[in-house]
Amino acid sequence: MSRLGDNRARLVALYTTMCRIRAFEDTALAAHRAGEIPGPLHVSVGQEAVAAGICLNLRRDDRITSNHRGHGHALAKGAGVAGMMEELFGRAGGHCRGKGGSMHIADFSVGMLGANGVVAGGIPIAVGAAQGLKLLGRDSIVACFFGDGAINRGPFLEGLNWAALYRLPVLFVCEDNGVAAFTATASVTAGPGVAARAESLGVPATSVDGNNAAAVDAAAARLVAEIRGGGGPQLLHATTYRITGHTSTDPAAWRNPQDVEAARAAEPIGRLRERLLAEGVPMAELEAIRGEAMAEMAEARAAALAAPWPDPAAAWEDVQDAGAAQGMA
């Protein structure tokens, strides 16, 4: 038995989710490079602890909004893997029936209100969802994921001010990986940073090592409880590092090799694995988890590849109710 007691299940759950995200991302990258996945693809290799740690503290009826890099968030929130992979492949069985792809992945059935192709685009949606839930008298909350690049867009200010004003149940999660596309965010971000910005807008902020899944989990547990209790919005600033490039086609040659080396050593899955091993969780168990995750994703890839394309007629569906036919002429 490990010395972890009650915590064991929780840490193993974090580990499992992270392994599944990593396996999904690695699989998606390989599939994209093999030409199986069309369109742009943004993966979150190295950032898994944030999605896993936050979503472990959410209920199914809680909501999340995400950004262009949303696979991990969706998976951690419980989105079905088959539907996710098919969506990336543009197949009929995708959560969005193949109409969205990686950048617009969504699974409303588990409260995943959508990735977003516009940086900071999810922030107004998240505060509105929280406002709607409050109006409906629900005790659900909304977690809003965005990157460090998003804090230089206006909706960040407008959204945080708004959430604070109406004391909305929103957890803002800034996944700070230090870069926005090909620019180091430190070079385009003035002032002391996201936490200070949040505080100046009336949103209390907490910083956490975003590569430490247990720390993210602990912070999220506290913040989610406060938010659900009616305490108003909170921001969690999670520092992390994305090991891969901006998109699947970006070799990230602009990165400093030493940084990448250091990042690989500090990446969250390996860290949690070390800890679990040290605490006595058997290697075999951890290997099995990883193996299962890889098998799950390999299977999802194969299934997606074999899955039918959308019926061309679907292209014309779900535009709107009124006047849809008129626009097809």
Binding site: R97, I125, V127, G132, K134, P155, N161, W162, Q326
Partner: protein, 339 residues
Amino acid sequence: MPAPRRGWPEMETPGMETITLVEAARRAALQEMRRDPSVWVLGEDVARGGLFGQYRGFLDEFGAARVVSTPISESVIMGAGLGAALVGTRPIIEMRIFDFVMCAMDELVNQIAKVRYMFGGQARPAVVIRMPHGIWRNSAAQHSQTLESWFTHIPGLVVAVPSTPADTAGLLVSAIRSDDPVLFFDPKNLFPVTGPVAAEIAPIPFGQARRARMGGDLTLVTWSAIVPQVEEAAAMLEARGIAADVLDLRTLWPWDEEAVVASVARTGRLLVVHEAVTTGGFGAEVVARVVERLGPAGLRRVARLGQPRVPVPFAPPLEDQLKVDTAKIVAAAEALMRD
């Protein structure tokens, strides 16, 4: 604008009543907010009744959770409306003046218009976006725009452009009940215009033109704030022996192609009149569609009348130079009759 009438709707006798357009809009929203507790309104100063009194009395009746006065944060006014719709509420997003929607275009065009399709039907962005638009009291270039044609070009959106109190009320009821995002262009210059409105406001379906006048010589197609002047011009033309068939489209998406095509098939002559700039205005779409459907052989003459491609100036004599008015409509119609 004259002061709005005093009496509260519940104190009025049932049946038709003559009220201002802005009061008609107020009652339509009031009726729907009473009917459906998931309907709410957000925007600047709405708790105080809105800039034009469209929401007078709402705060008292529905409380601050459903009548949300917001900061000057247009991106979030728009985007929060979307988010709230995604969890099942039905927000009325009040933009105060159309031109400020420019501060929320990503939320409108990239998000609201696309979520249903992009997410394969999972989302229903059931929002109404109210945007009092058009020329009004010499407000100059940044407060006078009429860009309704833009939104006909964006899949996913419904575009309503009423011109009478009854149409405003009926279309607003439809808009609030619709699962589609509806851009509702309040004709702010017509807010004080009065007309009969039923005590119980029935929804008016989208895509059905209102025939304002019957005639066989030429077809006048129009919408929104310029409609009264088109009707006035039609009366003047009548006096000069020209019988115009006047169609007020009421909505631009969907729009009543059938009624327009049928009318032009009879008259052979089409004049589209709108307040917006002619170039790239929805008049171009109407003309193009009619020509495509009837073929050039089915037509005698077609023309459009709008504002020249010039921003709206402040000084009254300059504004008058450029804006469409009754005299210009009469002149354009008469020119169309010559051939």
